[in-house]
């Protein structure tokens, strides 16, 4: 009942605030469109697993800038699935077969590059392997690879900002205190916020995802519902984090100052850039950033067509993040009412 009152009020506030609605719903579409138009990848050194490859061909491949690794067929398949390898070159009855992991177009191109440059005469020159893709395919482009991550980033960023600012306003204009002078429980307050924002987040994610898939032609191998689930959990993390950090801001400007501190590093570690190219001593940071898990799950569903078994780990970690932040929120609300 009281939770419903809060939910309703948040929805009403949104409906009166057309600009925020536009920010939430239209800004992501605009940026996504721009990115899809202009994005271009750079050079990347692929890892290729070799199974029973004749030594002249191996020698020729070593001249390319690919990392090579000789291993058994079973192990090669495992590592390919785990994305530890970008491709595996196998010889089946003397015929070369190249299987690409396929979900990252930059890697795909780098692998194929290594083979087109084989040339230079000799035995290796004539090698034209049969090409397979584990996921994705030839038509997978950079935008397909980055799109799911961008989707996660947008949901996280806009929900963080809007919830942080609106909760900050509740703090600074005294309504938070006034609301807590009523018989409302602190937990009910947080729940009301979650439902109110949850509704807008679902609409936002559905809109962004549908626009990306149907208008911008983003690769979509898995289920739309999983995408919505992941973005919703990710949004809850952003919402609870925004609420929490608003405690440490005195005005809107200070809330925006959290962007380079909280959002930008997450973007760097979210998988938008290949983690292998980031120095080892900082790459552990990715494991403490919620966006990393959200992006991983979204890529899993959208590119590799993963189902629940592929994403439950990521969703679980995100839920854990949200729970911790929620608990901290309920605690910090004690500042306003000691009950």
């Amino acid at each position: 009942m009281r939770v419903k009152a809060l939910t309703e009020r948040i929805i009403r506030q949104f409906l009166w605030d057309k600009r925020t609605m536009a920010l939430l719903f239209l800004a992501p579409l605009l940026v996504l469109t721009l990115v899809s138009l202009i994005f271009n990848g750079d050079a990347y050194r692929p890892s290729i697993g070799l199974v029973d490859v004749p030594s002249p061909i191996q020698a020729a491949l070593e001249k390319s800038d690919a990392h090579l690794k000789t291993l058994s067929a079973a192990k090669a398949n495992d590592e390919l699935k785990d994305q530890k390898l970008d491709a595996v070159l196998k010889f089946e009855q003397g015929r070369p077969e190249l299987t690409l992991e396929g979900s990252d177009p930059t890697s795909n191109r780098a692998v194929l590059e290594a083979f087109t440059n084989l040339g230079g005469g000799g035995q290796a020159a004539g090698v034209k392997p049969v090409i397979h893709y584990l996921h994705g395919g030839k038509s997978l482009n950079n935008f397909d690879n980055f799109g799911p991550v961008l989707l996660g980033i947008f949901v996280f960023f806009f929900v963080f900002l809007i919830s942080g600012v609106s909760f900050l306003r509740e703090r600074t204009n005294g309504t938070l205190e006034r609301v807590l002078a009523s018989p409302l429980r602190r937990g009910e307050l947080v729940t009301g916020y979650f439902i109110g924002f949850g509704i807008f987040t679902i609409i936002q994610s559905a809109l962004i995802a549908a626009y990306s898939v149907y208008v911008l032609d983003l690769w979509m191998a898995g289920s739309f519902w999983y995408v919505l689930l992941i973005t919703l959990v990710l949004a809850f993390v952003a919402l609870s984090l925004g609420m929490l950090l608003s405690t440490f801001a005195n005005n809107e400007l200070q809330m925006f100052q959290f962007i380079p501190l909280v959002i930008v590093p997450q973007v760097f570690f979210s998988g938008l850039f290949k983690l292998e190219t980031i120095s080892d001593w900082v790459s552990w940071i990715s494991y403490v950033t919620p966006l990393y898990y959200g992006a991983d799950a979204l890529r899993g569903v959208m590119i590799r067509g993963e189902g629940w078994s592929g994403i439950w780990g990521d969703v679980g970690v995100l839920a854990l993040f949200a729970l911790v932040f929620i608990a901290l929120n309920v605690l910090t609300l004690r500042k306003y009412r000691k009950l």
Binding site: R2, R9, D17, G174, E177, R178, P183, L184, R185
Partner: protein, 243 residues
Amino acid sequence: MSRPVLEIDHVAKRFAAKTVLSDVSLTIDKPEIFGLLGPSGAGKTTLVKMIVGMERPTEGSIHVLGVKVPNLKLMTDIGYMAQSDALYGELTAEENLKFFAQLYGLSGKRLKENAERVLELVGLQDDAKKPVQKFSGGMKRRLSLAIALIHRPKFLILDEPTVGIDPLLRKKLWDTFGELKDNGVTLIVTSHVMDEAERCDRLGLIRDGRLLACGTPAELKRATQTTTMEEAFLVYGGMGDAR
């Protein structure tokens, strides 16, 4: 026999090392208008927040209607108007009112009736559909009062309710407070304006966190041999400084 409406028993409040209130005791037995009078920074807001249950006393205890505060259930019986208006600017007056009413468990026909009644009481019935950010300071103050009244509380705590309200409306509001009292509501009204003091049944003079004196306006004036509340307060205030 009924318990007193309010019992404040040797209450002190400290924030970190800063003492904001010390040794305040006060009892309200029956419905009345009790004025808490004192300069800005005296500790009035801190005291009423403890009565509402938003702060805990550092020492001593407070009972409202026989129940020790803070108590969540008790908050349903208390109407609170904060010193600064706490309203949602994007929403209309009606939407603000409805939201707070629901927090107090009102719904349906009762909510609608109560909303109409309090809007009329504060003279905002024609502005109900306007967004609050278009309101003047006085209109916001009146809406805050309407919100404090929406659930028909037995105990009303108003923190400087008449700041920024013109004299004519101020008189009307005080008439309303009188009517509420006649209907069995107890009111605590804080103020730093002395001329409002005469309209209270009893007064508590507060300064630097101490309750200097307590009594009807007539009693306080007689005790200090003065003719206005302003002079009476100065006498008590002077004594406070000497100590």
